[in-house]
Symmetry: C2
Subunit: 258 residues, 2 copies
Amino acid sequence: MKKNEVIETMLDHKSIRDYKEEVPSQEEIETIVRAAQQAPFVSQLYSVILTKNRDDHPFDAPLLFTICIDFHKFELIMEKRGWEPVSNDLSIFLFGVQDACYMAQNMVTAGESLSIGSCFLGAAPYKAGRLKEKYDLPEKVFPIVQLAMGYPDEETSTRPRYPMEYVLFEGEYPELTDEMIEDAMDKMDEGYLEQDYYRKLDAKIGLKGDEKDEYTYDDYSWTEHISRKWGQWHESIEEPLEELEKCGFDLLIEDKRE
Amino acid sequence: MKKNEVIETMLDHKSIRDYKEEVPSQEEIETIVRAAQQAPFVSQLYSVILTKNRDDHPFDAPLLFTICIDFHKFELIMEKRGWEPVSNDLSIFLFGVQDACYMAQNMVTAGESLSIGSCFLGAAPYKAGRLKEKYDLPEKVFPIVQLAMGYPDEETSTRPRYPMEYVLFEGEYPELTDEMIEDAMDKMDEGYLEQDYYRKLDAKIGLKGDEKDEYTYDDYSWTEHISRKWGQWHESIEEPLEELEKCGFDLLIEDKRE
């Protein structure tokens, strides 16, 4: 494998959940955001809200960035140019989410290059309406993810990832054989168990209903954890649709297939 | 501004549209994908299809990566574990698109650290059905973006971005004043005009209908170009909804507001 400082910074990525009190400087913050902005974009449909109220942040992180898909600021530009938007909200979303995410990932990497750790918080789309009120977001601004940041106050290891054979496919998508699936599961599960990851976080997801949970932290690992999410959570599509709608993104159309 | 090799690599990002014939090595390709994989993720809901048919690629790029949101491979894992997915397709999409995009952005940066340039191709969601056939994608795999890659055979400049004041907001979203909007427009427009960007690409978007186009490449710039997209394109939400549906992502529910 080729190595350089950039590759090594990426390979060394860890999500941080324990932070020192020291607040990164304004110069560091602006370096991170400026480097992130240079990511490729469709229309720069992003905004970042920064708060520094440590007490109010997950993991008491000194910094919390709320990264938003933002069409509002481009609407204002269109108005100045005498244009009116005609595009549908799903198309705006499909492009805007990329602008926002490419930027967000660069923030993670830029931060780590400055010894500043971070952790994505995935619940933003499910509390978008509340975040909109909290941060006074205009219509057409949707918080896609939050990013806690600060100097790490913990020693952690990098987490495992799928084997290359389960990710990169040349020519076309192959049939995933039992062996490939099991190799991927083993690599993930053994890696997480070795680090005692879920026990340390006390992060086991319970079983709905009265099914008895046969797993302990000795064998509860990544594929079980993630299966419990997708097998039990987010059944209702109305929930995320409503949060999008609160932020001015209307994805509802009548089902024409009836 | 703080500087290091990572920050400088990011700040030096340019999209490349002209490539040398030399094909990056398998070692380089795997380094790029491996480094990209280490990006933070929700459930590793991503897959990457790689093709090397230069003649078939935009800009004759030696490599073309099709980056997909992939729930299929996790469904196979759930099956092995005795779980069935219950989550709605929009929730899967909202998390999967982040997994895929964080990875995609790392691929760009990792490539550039190895002197390998790239260019995102945004049309994938609009031809998802065709890409599904071409690459034999299973259900629940949605191509979100394509990435052309290879050694640059052109000298280009970095493109301008919004001023920090139009991107990073502390505490809450501010009212964007005329001055802020105009500063943002000026920075973008002057930057693109200075580079003669649209003339070089001959990329002017025409006006629909019989409106006379008053702009020449002397004054046609970024905010006009992007306004013509959002002011004329993608009117129909059915189009992206149908492409998602072809790939097994059903976002249609009946409009309950009637």
